[in-house]
Amino acid sequence: MSMAAPGMHPSRPDVCVTGMGIATSLGLGKEENWVALAAGRSGVRAITRFDTRGLRTIIGATIDYRDLADLPFVCRTEEIAKMVLGEALDQAGLPKGDVRAPLFVGIPPAEMSWRQRLALVLEAGMRLPINYEALIATTRGGEYANLHERYLLGGITTRLAEQFGASDAPVTVNTACATGATCIQLATEAIRRCETDLALVVAADASIVPDTIVRFSLLAALSMSNDPPEKAAKPFSLDRDGFVLGEGAAALVLESDRSARARGRLPLGYVTGLGESADTYHLTRSTPDARAVIEAMRNALSDAAVGADDIDYINAHGTGTPENDRIEYLAVKAIFEDRANSVPISSNKSMIGHTMSAAGAVEAVVSLLAMQHGVLPPTINYQNPDPDLALDVVPNHAHACELRHVLSNSFGFGGQNVCLVLSRERPAI
């Protein structure tokens, strides 16, 4: 246990959420997304933005609206990040040009995909032999300066910081599938330390390109249940065969409770618990006894000063890979004991796919929306339950439920685990 024990910071500010924005394959904005999630709709479809011949997985929860489909993935990611951050700032009643708050940005590593490298070779009009040396000699004259800014790992973050007027040096985060949750963690910590009253989080990932599909296919992580696409993502099912890549973004305005009240804003919910751990077992697999995941969940509960009995709903990491869902089940069983098969736990990924770098933030926003509406979003495609995972996965249909505390899980590929406790009310003093 490395996190500070509860009560150690009696004077630390409570951190609330005063603005949220979200974009997924189901649509843009809180309204569209919540309606679709509560209806159990799937955003997974056959990929049409590029030729999928030769690939084993040809489906994804892609974002194709607003002419985003044909952009390089880095630009698509940047555009949806701007959209959700704008939505969150609007809701929080903050300016979109000079917000003067620290900014934490979760994104995939920027890079040129193979298609863009090839396009560059063709555009540069090069003669054979074409290799990096020749390509660099042809492109280093300044004519391609925009590509430098576009493909820097800190490029998107810099442009967001400059457009929205963030204070200080913006922070770019990548802890794989836990990225969005790590951003929320960093922002919450900054407010708790009284370094700022306000912090912005945005996490976005729109990197469905052939390169990404090939990479995850090589690790046997993706579902190959291509037909019909909307049935492919089936977390906690016996026949689950991997996750479906998704695109998405979410933003949160985090604020000290005192600052929100002073500005006359109504908190949408509170970030009350942060828990983390790193797995030391294997680069792509969790410790078989789920020890590291249990530790992260336990740390989050302890940081929030709540017990497992206080958690009304778990927003699962729930990728739908055979391994993840089994580990997550073991952890829930270890922590929730007698309640393990009755505490509702559902996976948004059954509908919106795995939004990777964005997932932690997207699922935090969905958790807060669930709390606001008093409705549990379902795990869809739950036709063939895995008898070894005796859980209430909110099968197939949403239902009403009063929520006080939600546990949101994110387990990064590479061993970074982050769990958040989100609460409707300000913590009792």
């Binding site: 590029f50 040396e133 660099i136 300066a145 800190g154």
Partner: protein
């Protein structure tokens, strides 16, 4: 003890590698003999870079296949992290490492250049998407993907040494190195963690990175002359392979376990300007602090050689005070994400020894010797964005106990 109930943060271990050596001791020895200093460069894709020195990876990575699979960034990073833990007396301290934080300035990883080239060579054929798909499905190795993910250096550190408390990876060129140390320092000062292992790793012999920095016109095309001398010819960076990790520890915790600290990490200032003329001076002077040092002050500049900001930094530094400056980038090349951790590690080493290392030709703005050394300011003006500095100072012997 400082304001807000935060505690002092000490550097209790460092590990580093670069073109000039493997480990702290080799670096100190080579830096101490400037006249015998020879620039070790090699050519990559038509550009000179500073390659890694011979490094004994077996010290922390017993399986040679692991190092090969991980690629240079991850294996040099794990290596420096291991050295830092040994230096702090923590390698093998299972219980403590299980509640230690790791923070990494991550980079996008390796590419399969042969595969890229085989696609470049036949561009019209691979314009056909299904041909391209089939090519990469067959050509790509799973281990390459793992070497490409920025967060997997942290993953490998956790696995190799059992560092399990928490794990954060930040990205974004030079600023990633600054933010990594800033985040680790804050969490230790705030008592969220007693110990944090923080650093970064950078491989200069990457064609795809030369392409990226080349797009922006940031590459220095000539011989690697000192960074301060490049402005007239347009400026530019020479990339250098390097890795550096630091163990940051709460002072009270270090005292309790009788650790031998190198120095105190007083403060990190991280800023971001739009690089209008004068911005670099304005931002650095806002962070500048030479009040009440307990000894003489030296500066380690992270200047990259890029024009005009390198000249602007030089003007700013000479304007603040006439202080001895060292510029490792002239000797080791510029290590992007890893450069700030590397320079903070060098500053820690100098404070541990109580003296600045001597200047080498063209390196120092002010070559005066400096001993006893009480404080070091480390600057980082990123090649495109980010203006930051760290302040470190020596620890009195009565404090160490």
């Amino acid at each position: 003890m400082s304001a807000n109930g935060q505690r002092d943060v000490w550097v209790t271990g460092i590990g580093l590698s670069s073109s000039i050596g493997d480990g702290a001791e080799e670096h100190w020895t080579r830096l101490g003999n400037p006249t015998t200093q020879e620039l070790r460069t090699k050519s990559r894709a038509g550009h000179l870079i500073f390659p890694a020195a011979a490094v004994d990876l077996a010290r922390h990575i017993p399986n040679r296949l692991d190092a090969k699979r991980w690629g240079a960034v991850q294996s040099l990073g794990v290596h420096a992290a291991g050295d830092a833990l040994v230096n702090a007396g923590l390698k093998g301290s299972t219980e403590l490492l299980a509640r230690t934080l790791v923070v990494v300035a991550g980079v996008g990883g390796e590419r399969d250049v042969a595969l890229d080239h085989s696609i470049f060579r036949d561009p019209t054929r691979f314009e056909n998407s299904s041909e391209l798909n089939r090519k990469i499905v067959v050509g790509m190795r799973p281990s390459l993907f793992l070497a490409q993910l920025p967060n997997l250096l942290a993953g490998n550190i956790s696995i190799t040494f059992g560092v399990a408390g928490g794990s954060r990876t930040v990205m974004g060129e030079e600023l990633a190195g600054v933010n990594a140390i800033l985040i680790a320092r804050q969490l230790v000062a705030d008592r969220a963690y007693d110990v944090a292992l923080v650093g970064g790793s950078f491989a200069a012999d990457r064609e795809d990175l030369l392409l990226l920095y080349g797009f922006g016109g940031f590459l220095w095309l000539g011989d690697p002359i000192p960074v301060w001398s490049r402005a007239e010819a347009g400026g530019g960076v020479t990339l250098g392979t390097m890795s550096a990790f630091l163990v940051l520890e709460g002072a009270d915790h270090a005292q309790t376990r009788n650790a031998n600290p190198l120095c105190r990490l007083v403060r990190i200032g991280a800023s971001h300007s739009r690089r209008n003329p004068g911005d670099v001076t304005r931002v650095l002077s806002a962070q500048w602090d030479d009040s009440s040092p307990n000894g003489m002050i030296g500066i380690i500049s992270g200047a990259s050689g890029v024009a005009p900001i390198t000249d602007e930094e030089r003007a700013a530094l000479t304007q603040f005070a006439s202080l001895p400056v060292r510029t490792p980038g002239s000797l080791t090349g510029h290590g992007m994400e890893a450069s700030f951790p590397f320079n903070v590690a060098l500053a820690s080493l100098a404070l541990q020894h109580g003296t600045f290392y001597p200047p080498f030709p063209g390196d120092a703005l002010d070559p005066s010797p400096l001993s006893p050394l009480g404080r070091v300011v480390v600057t980082s003006v990123g090649h495109w964005r980010g203006e930051s500095l760290a302040i470190l100072e020596s620890i009195g012997s009565e404090e160490k106990r």
